[in-house]
Point group: C2
Chain length 210, copies 2
């Protein structure tokens, strides 16, 4: 049986002690994939941003807030895993600095300098060992397939799961699973648990078996 790292949920990047940048990722797809992997007898470690859902009891959960923290936790865990399913939606911009006190309104607005956060999957991909496999998720609103395959290449993944903004925080989803050549291996839609089963079947066939 395999040891699988699943990243899940959003991350937050704070401007001050109260306000932050994020997205509406609920962690439900990560939850569904963890349930399916646990049920299939695999050992699952989940590195998750702040979510309101419960992960399966059999999984080990590492809770993080920011993208940097998520990367740090993954770098710790991934070397001892067989593969990664990167379904988290890490916030990819952060304020250059975080104010120590809550910013007060001045009537004038605010210029916010955002810097890019590290790409977690790409960072793990750059140092993956020969035997490790990686599955990334991509959410694109423009030229989705082309961008997804570019991401797969850049992040050195084996498969990429492409979804749209409608999937965020929804009970249902519609995804395409693409390989390195851009071939659509499957188009899956329905409840997140059902779609997770379809994705995991492809992972078992193509990656766990090899």
């Amino acid at each position: 049986m395999a040891r699988i790292l699943i990243t899940s949920g959003p991350t937050r990047e704070y401007l001050d002690p109260v306000r932050y940048l994020t997205n509406a990722s609920s962690g439900r797809m990560g939850q569904a994939l963890a349930e399916v992997a646990v049920k299939a007898g695999h050992e699952v470690v989940i590195v998750s941003g702040p979510v309101e859902i419960d992960y399966p009891e059999q999984a080990q959960v590492v809770s993080v807030v920011s993208t940097e923290e998520m990367l740090e936790a993954c770098r710790e865990v991934f070397p001892r895993c067989d593969g990664l399913i990167g379904v988290a939606a890490p916030c990819d911009y952060r304020p250059r600095k975080t104010a120590r006190h809550k910013l007060s309104k001045t009537g004038r607005g605010l210029e916010l300098h955002l810097v890019e956060t590290p790409d977690i999957v790409a960072t793990l991909g750059a140092s993956r060992s020969q035997g490790q496999w990686m599955v990334a998720f991509a959410l694109e609103t423009e030229d989705p397939r082309i961008r997804a395959v570019q991401k797969l290449e850049r992040k050195r993944c084996d498969l990429i799961v492409l979804n749209g903004p409608a999937a965020i925080h929804a009970a249902t989803t519609a995804v395409e699973v693409l390989d390195r050549r851009g071939t659509v291996l499957a188009a899956l839609s329905g409840g997140k648990r059902e779609v997770a089963e379809g994705i995991f079947r492809i992972i078992e066939e193509r990656l766990l078996g090899r």
Copy 2:
């Protein structure tokens, strides 16, 4: 019996179809206040941003996403109410524009121009009628009491409830209730339901009875 408007939860201000500015307000304090008010036999209308909790069935709930939408809903509802409890934590900055497509990382970062969103309680306060009462919440990390009383004045409220960042998304809280003269009427701490009962007792004594 009174008709009470409760604003609750956070709001979101989107940069693009996926990313937004927000805060971790869970809506739990709004939920607790609504429960207490409903139990006391009052009619409750809740205007709420995106939350994961359930409001009491007897309350009417208007769901909104952005601060502008929250204000619009409140302007519609408040003229037919006796009072307002403004416990929402509306996002008070929004990007000057929202990108139609998800912003792609360029390696360079991003300059984000934020403008202030309208102050919901202050806007309602400016046009409140003689008989209406208003209770605001303030979350301050610096000079909390002074700033809270300044807010109370500016927003033309009758009472202000002061809390700290530790209250956000927590089960428990610690608050002070201040009147227009800056007098601390009560310091309450404990579970949010218990604190909500204490706050509502003061509202009943000072505002509902008058």
